[in-house]
Symmetry: C2
Subunit: 325 residues, 2 copies
């Protein structure tokens, strides 16, 4: 099923219904969307839609709106983060320039609404609810990015603040992608709400897994050298937790590495990873991820869908947190 | 009437229904919207709505969507143009920074859709048509900005290309603002289309008037010294037309001033203005503006509205091109 969703989505992306001219504006959109990715969000939307209705093909364009929105956030975040690479290729602002990345991103956000507008057959009320939810989620994702930027210059970010930031920046869109399938299928409101919570909860685990993989990922499978976050002193769950738990000489060592301006990259990665290890942070983070997964699993069990459907959903969701890439 | 529209719009802006936290994200939105401006676009929307229905108050939130959208484009354009001032005050990226201006602008674009979503009482089809039109216009405005940026590095921009650029960057939104009033009032499609064309045509005159005022505006009334476009070698209608018409020593002089890297600012403004004068460009541009106004006037006459309503519309439209600020 997921393969059929993916194939339909890729075909829709290949024939993207957006403008052409000027090419400086539209080429970056095609470029970024063609870099691939797992299309998790629109697949989730089609997956939850399929829990209620079989004619998922007609929702492919609407489902694409969350993928286009997600890629819009990547294009703009990469400018703000001055990121040189995205999925192993040049970012848009590197390949073109900042202004083009700003403006192409703006058009992408508009494109996301244009694709949502391809939904047919809902009542006005249901459609406006859907539009209002996407917009609310979109604003929250921006709020998450702003909190993330604010954290860069703060030394006192708590674990709670970090979790709230990743909830906004990452989880709400995963939650919405699942909720949207329910809304498109006119599922009962409490079911769509439940789907949102399942996605939001799994989204937290998904992001913590990202933090873990950046340190502990297998370079061959992960496609990049581990430790990027460590070298950038990025306030990940691991670093915040380390500052919370470390004491004495361990804390002093961590502070030394974070403050260091001249160092050997691999030496810093090894040293900070060793601190994480000594504090048992890998196991602790994995336990937190598992607890998010368990909460989502319980909520899936409460859905009024068949056991077979529950299994399919659980299988897909566990793929989001058990992954090695 | 227009005063009542303006008062209602200002009140709606004062109580803006957007997020609060983080303040870095939302303060710039309140700041930019509070800098004032003539609110031409939402006033036009309420004005055309009032041609058909009297209960315009209920459309104030929806009308605000075009003002919020317009201000979103200002926030992002100012980053791209590295503009220090907007309405005599610091631009958002100057007062805060580029990243905040990017992200606040993104939220503003979302806010524009949220305000459009406050429309009630249309059919799904009519609402989706409205949403589709706003989105198409939004993409066109971005296309116009990209053409404008492309023109900076080109020496061969034709008058036709320039007119198409300002049509996209400025006129289509003025056209849409007028069309939107018709769509909200469920006016016949050909009437809404006609309102769009009137606004689009006047919008061209509006922008050419801007180009004129930047050279010939009364500094006391205009609130700034004339010649900003001349000093920046901005490819305005006047400069493009001057290159088209100038020959011999006049062309050589114009080329000298455009290529000059060290010069006295007021001397350059005086010299280029003198070239414009010698080529009769002020009168010619005024004639072109008048022809746009005449075309819009004719289309207004063909509308199935009362003579009194036609006069009110003509009066407002002439204010857009006869203005001194």
């Amino acid at each position: 099923m997921n393969k059929a969703f993916l194939a339909a989505l890729e075909e829709e992306i290949r024939c993207l219904d957006i403008g052409q001219n000027p090419s400086e504006l539209y080429d970056p959109i095609h470029y970024l969307l063609s870099l691939g990715g797992k299309r998790i969000r629109p697949v989730l939307c089609l997956l939850t839609y399929s829990l209620f209705k079989s004619d998922w093909e007609k929702q492919v364009p609407a489902a694409l709106s969350v993928e286009i929105f997600h890629n819009f956030t990547l294009m703009h975040d990469d400018i703000m983060d001055k990121a040189p690479l995205r999925r192993g290729k040049q970012t848009v602002h590197e390949k073109w320039n900042d202004n083009i990345a700003i403006l192409s991103g703006d058009v992408m956000l508009v494109n996301a609404y244009q694709y949502l507008n391809k939904v047919k057959g809902l009542s006005l009320e249901a459609f406006q609810h859907l539009l209002g939810r996407l917009s609310r989620i979109a604003a929250e994702v921006c709020e998450g990015q702003q909190f993330d930027m604010n954290f860069e210059s703060r030394g006192d970010v708590s674990v709670e603040e970090y979790i709230e930031m990743i909830r906004l920046k990452t989880s709400v869109l995963i939650g919405f992608s699942m909720e949207m399938g329910g809304l498109l299928a006119s599922a009962p409101a409490e079911v769509s709400d439940s789907l949102y919570r399942i996605g939001e909860t799994i989204g937290l685990g998904f992001q913590l897994k990202d933090d873990l993989l950046d340190v502990y990922g297998d370079p061959e499978k992960f496609g990049k050298q581990p430790g990027g976050d460590i070298l950038a002193n990025k306030k990940t769950y691991l670093l915040i937790k380390a500052f919370e738990k470390a004491t004495g000489s361990t804390l002093a060592l961590l502070e030394k590495w974070v403050a260091a301006t001249e160092y050997d990259a691999s030496e810093k990665v090894q040293a900070v990873t060793a601190i994480y290890d000594s504090l048992g942070l890998k196991a602790e983070t994995e336990a937190v991820i598992a607890s998010y997964f368990d909460a989502a699993f319980l909520e899936i069990q409460s859905l009024a869908i068949s056991e077979e459907q529950k299994s399919a959903l659980v299988k897909f969701m566990s793929g989001l947190v058990d992954r090695e890439v």
